[in-house]
Structures are given as structure tokens and as C-alpha cells.
């Protein structure tokens, strides 16, 4: 980074450093000044709007308007003529391998396995570490990958999955274990499309595993917080009544944590639907590991196919919205219970 660049345009720099806070302060002071002029009973109705105003403006300008633009362009061709649903037809035609279907299939894998693994591991870690004295240290360690950018995460996992031809020293962790412990030939984890248990291609699972490692700390921390919120006397009472630890988990702890599990789960579903960075950096969608977000990126930047990319974006948006609404409702329910 060449810091001189910052100094080449001093007026702009000063305007940004001084001007932005000044405008914000002026807005707040000015808004409050105007509200004070109003009659007492109207003040509580107006004041919130003054405060959320900038946020509303930003959300409208940077989210709602572009979303509407995307929706419109998904019904147009590249020249801007209305073409009805033909962009969607070209993305959703050619089942099962044409159009966007490979990406849709892989997104489904992400939806199921990513969500399931993160929840299961997060829950298990939260419950198990709750019972040991070194809980905080281990939890910090597991949370740490959250601080790593996705591209760095992919670099790490590429080392884990590294492949050398049979007979060569295996530099990848997994192939080393496969070779020395199980005496098996190494596998190309990122390229191998062999379905595992006839269910999910190995390379898709490898990508999902890397992403799970990166996010599991998130679900563990939130679930752990929910676990700590369960009153101790409740567990005490169950124990007095003669319930074993497994019964307590099944009948007391888990039901009480359920709302949080659902909120974390739906959040993860949204993460899974917009999965992009791990796929982009690991395989770029090659070897049938494409996902919708990566397909949208490729259509937009490689193919300059804005209408096609918009159609994929709309499909993605329509899938996410119900999950989003459910998530928000559930979140409110959890809040209300507190």
C-alpha cells in the first residue's frame, strides 16, 4: 500500500475525515431541534423516524432499489427488451445437468449437510464443553477459525486435501492419514466426484467440510449461551426426580434450546444458500461443485450475461425470503420468551 496515495488529494481526505462526522452531527442536532418544536404528544411518533431515517435511506438506496432493478432485468434480454420468463427458462431448462441444475443440486447438498453438520457439531461441542473446567480455552480455539477470511480458510484446506501420486510422500494431511494409517491410495479430494454412500459427491463434501470448520464456532457459541440460560434448579429438579443425564438432555435441555437451535439453523440455511467464497476459491465451480451464487458471478463477470445472472439472483432471493421471514419470527419468539 502506497500511503502517498492518500495524500495526493488532501481536500478530499479532509472532507471525509471532518465532513462526514459533521454532517451526521448536524443531522442529529438539527432533527432533535425540529422535534422539540413539535407539540409534546407528537414527539414520540416523529422521533424514531428521525433516527431510523438514514438507515432506511441507505437500505432503500443500496438494497431495495437494486433488488427491483435486478428483478426487472431478469425479465429482459441484453438489449433491455421484455422477454417474459425466457431467462428463467434457460436457467431452469435442461434438467438434470443443463442450465443451473448442477448448481441447484449442489446448493441442496450445502443446505442439508452444511446446516446439519454445523448444528450437530455446534450442539455437541456446546453441551460437552459445558461440563469441563477448561471450557473457555477450548471454546476460544474452536471459535478462532471465524476470524479467518474464507480465502485463507481455503488455502489451509487445500493443504489438508493436497494430493501427490501414489508412491510419493503425501503432503496433504488427509492423504497422509489415508496412506500411513489405512494403507489406501491417496484421493483427489477436491476433484473426485465419486458419490459417498451413493449420496453426495466426495468433492462437494470436502468443500462443505472446510466451510463447516470455519463456521462451527459460531453455532457453538450461540448454543452454549442458550444452554447457560437454562436455570440450574430445573436440571436439579430433574436429577432429584431420578432422570439420567441423557434423559435430561433429551427431555429438558434440548426442548428448552429448541428455539435457539431453530434460529441458528435458519441462519445457517441462509448462509448455505448464498455459499460462494469457499467454492470460488477452491474449485471455481469446476468438477460439478458449482453453486448458485458462483454461477451468478460467472454469468455476470465472465459472460456479461446480466439477464441470466439476474434470473439466478431472483431465484436465490425467492428461496431465501421465506427462510428469512421464518427466521425473524422465530427470533422474535425467542426474544419474547426472555
Amino acid at each position: 500500500m502506497d500511503w502517498n496515495l492518500l495524500l495526493t488529494d488532501l481536500p478530499t481526505l479532509i472532507a471525509v475525515i471532518v465532513g462526514v462526522p459533521a454532517v451526521l452531527a448536524a443531522y442529529i442536532v438539527g432533527g432533535e431541534f425540529l422535534v422539540r418544536r413539535l407539540p409534546d404528544k407528537n414527539r414520540p411518533q416523529v422521533r424514531p423516524w428521525i433516527w431510523v431515517g438514514p438507515a432506511l435511506l441507505l437500505v432503500t438506496g443500496f438494497l431495495v432499489v437494486p433488488a427491483i432493478g435486478t428483478l426487472i432485468s431478469s425479465f429482459q434480454d441484453r438489449q433491455g427488451n421484455f422477454v417474459g420468463l425466457s431467462n428463467f427458462a434457460s436457467q431452469l431448462g435442461g434438467f438434470p445437468t443443463g442450465g443451473a441444475w448442477i448448481a441447484i443440486r449442489d446448493n441442496l447438498f450445502w443446505l442439508i449437510f452444511y446446516t446439519l453438520f454445523v448444528l450437530a457439531f455446534g450442539l455437541a461441542l456446546a453441551v460437552l464443553f459445558d461440563r469441563v473446567p477448561y471450557e473457555n480455552i477450548v471454546k476460544s480455539l474452536i471459535f478462532m477459525p471465524m476470524a479467518i477470511s474464507s480465502v485463507a480458510l481455503v488455502v489451509i484446506w487445500k493443504f489438508m486435501y493436497a494430493y501427490q501420486p501414489p508412491g510419493q510422500p503425501q503432503t496433504g494431511t488427509l492423504n497422509f492419514i489415508l496412506n500411513t494409517v489405512f494403507h489406501q491410495d491417496p484421493r483427489t479430494w477436491i476433484q473426485d466426484e465419486t458419490p459417498l454412500l451413493g449420496l453426495i459427491p466426495l468433492n462437494n463434501l470436502a468443500l462443505i467440510a472446510a466451510a463447516v470448520w470455519g463456521i462451527v464456532g459460531f453455532s457453538m457459541v450461540i448454543l452454549s449461551a442458550a444452554l447457560k440460560g437454562i436455570p440450574g434448579d430445573l436440571l436439579e429438579a430433574a436429577r432429584v426426580d431420578g432422570a439420567g443425564e441423557i434423559t435430561i438432555f433429551r427431555r429438558v435441555i434440548f426442548p428448552l434450546m429448541m428455539p435457539t437451535v431453530v434460529v441458528v439453523g435458519t441462519t445457517l440455511v441462509i448462509f448455505a444458500l448464498k455459499a460462494f467464497d469457499v467454492v470460488y476459491a477452491m474449485t471455481a465451480g469446476n468438477y460439478d461443485t458449482d453453486v448458485l451464487a458462483n454461477r451468478m458471478y460467472k454469468l455476470l463477470y465472465f459472460s456479461s450475461d446480466t439477464p441470466g445472472a439476474s434470473a439466478v439472483a431472483v431465484v436465490l432471493l425467492l428461496t431465501v425470503i421465506p427462510v428469512l421471514i421464518f427466521n425473524l419470527r422465530q427470533f422474535r419468539a425467542v426474544e419474547a420468551r426472555r
Binding site: D2, L5, P165, N286, K298
Partner: protein
Amino acid sequence: MAAVFAAVACGGGGTQSAGSVKVMATWTGAEQASFMAVMKPFTDQTGITIAYEASRDQDALLTTRVASGNPPDLAAAPSPTLLTKFATQGKVKALNNVVDMTALSSEVSKTWIDLGEPTGDGKLYQVYSWVSLKGLIWYDPKNFQAKGYNVPNSWDSLLQLQQTIKGGGTTPWCIGLESGAASGWPGSDWVKEIVLSQSGPSVYDAWWKGKQKWSSPEIKLAWQTWGQILGANDANVYGGAKSMAATNFADAGTPLFQTPPKCYMHNQASFITSFFQSANPSVVAGTDYNFFPLPDINSQFTGAHVVAGDAWSMFNDTPQAEKMIKYLTTADAQAIWVKRGGKISPNNKVPLDDYPDALSKSTAQILVKTQIGKYDAGDLMPADMKNAYWGAVLKFAANQGQLDSILANLDSIQAKAYTS
């Protein structure tokens, strides 16, 4: 990202009135120092100073600057696609009356002048100060000697050599296709080199321009010829299909240097030597690794090579800029960087003794004599086509039997990619 520098004239003749030239290129660090060394005699002599600006993100920066009507006077680009776009838009000046055309045509092979006339109307829009060569087959001379293998001088002898090597129980080739989001490109180099040498420049040009179908006999033959190199089930490549897909291009050549060697040949551009060195710091250029150019396939197109180069275009025809671009075409200017290492001059007046090592000297010999030089076809294709091409390489390497469906798919992308 852009690093903005103003190089101040340090020569005695420098006066304010001589003016300056705004230059944009991609060289930073040591390369920038070399470029400044090239320009020092010019500044000393004329008093014209260089206002140099370097950016790795040249496409975006130069496009913005040209669009806002504030282009640099001169720009040097490692890929000509962008400069050619500006030439077709009429944003750059023709150089026919600026540079000494008679001297130029006697000093550089005609192909470099042809490449500088991308619009095909006889107007020279780009000149080359330094050039490079693709399609180099790297080998370990000690291993070749130990087995009594000779450097092949024809396509047939190359095919024969790979049979001999296979007969000896070793795979002839090392190939690595993995390169993150750009995976597949090392194989695309193979295919384009074969197309040029096998079917010649007119098919090659029609192909990257989208006027020659992928399923046409010529292009299909090129893929099949590459298939011959790979062998049935990729048996000619160390580690086979799996290893090709999983090995990063930068590591692909390393098994050349193992004892015993796992492969004997590796096709890559000249930059690969720095990866050889970093993987095995003890290897020495010339004794541990050397190269021969990919042999000619069709004698009709002898000396056809895929090349690249630093192309210069002029956006403002100030007298200072005109003087500078003229200076850059001279052997004297180009030799300065040649002596500092890392660059090859297309100019036959640059003495071969100026090259600091044997490898760059032999590269220079090939480049100066190049009769048919063409740019990397992939770089010239629309991004969509290029990415599909790379993806096709991965599919072909995994299963050569799919060739027809791979080519049909490329045809369908070709039909769309060139219209937008």
C-alpha cells in the same frame, strides 16, 4: 493500488523546457528500476523527464483514464487486448510516421510489425520493446544424457521419444492443470500451440476470433494431437488424470528433478524457471534444466510460436512522447534491460552476448527469428469463451472420450460469447 511516481531528471542536460512524458505500465519494484535504467540515457540526452505510473490493475485504471479523457501519453501493456480495443476505438495514435519504419522492418521480424497492426488497415498502433515465448519444453539435460535421449527436432521424433521413454518404464510428461479459478489454462497452452503449428496462423486467428468452430476438423485435430501426447487414459503423464487435475501448475515440473526422475519433459513458458529454483534451490540453469521449443508439426508453418510481449501505444502525440516511443524501438534502449536480465528483445541488432545467461540467449535466438508469431489465443477470446476453454481442458484431461460433446458445448458458448 496505483503507485504514483515522478522520476526526476538527474542528467546534466535536463531543463524545464524539455517537458515530460506521462507513462503508464505494470512494472513495479525491480522491474520498475530496470525500466528507469532504460530511460536514463534518454532523459540525459534530451532533458525530457518521465512521469511514471505503475498499476497491476491496468485494465481498470487505463480504461477509466481513457474514458475520462485523461490518458497517459504512453502506455505499455503485457497483454495487447486492451490496447487493441483502444486502437479500434480510435483512442490511440498511429505510429507509422513516428517510428523509423525502414529501420524497424530491418531490425525486427515481420511478425512483430504485423502484431502491431491489429486493426488490419496498415496502421501501426503498437510497438514491442521486449517479448517472450510460450511452448518451451523443459528437460533435465543430465537425465537425457544418462538415458541417451536426444532433443527432438521434429514432431515425429518427439512422439518417438515419448514412446522410448515409456518403453523405459517412466512417464514422459509432467503436467499440472490446477490453478484455482483459472484451472485448466496450462492445458489450453498445449492446444493453442498445437493449433498454430499444425493448422497455421489463419486458422488460429479465425479460431480466437470466433469464426472457426471448435468442432471443425482443424481444432478437433489439435485436441486429438494433445490426446496423443497425453496417451490413452493419460498414461503418458506422471500420475495420470488424477495427478494432472490435482497438481498446481507451479509444482508440476518438480518431479523432473527427482532421482530417479518421474518424468522427462514439461511444457511451460519461461517464467517456470523461478518455480524450479524455489522448489529445488540447488538446480542450475543450463546444467540441471534446459529447454527446446515445441517442434514444428506442419512443415508449412515452420517457426510458428505463441508469443507475448510488452506492447506500447501512444495516446497523445506530443513531441516528447513521439521521441520516447522512437527511442524505445531502438536496440540501444532494449539492450539496457536485456543486460539487467529478465527480458528478451525482438530486435536483431541487440547482440546475443548481451544476454546474461544461456537460457535467455537461446530464447532470444528463437524469438528474433520467429516467422509466425501469434498471441495467446485464450487471452484474445472473450472472457466467457476463455473460461469455457479452460473448463474444457479439465474435462478432456479427465476423459478424452468425451471430446465430441466437449467441443459441441464449446461451439454453443462460442455462438453466444462474441455477440455481447
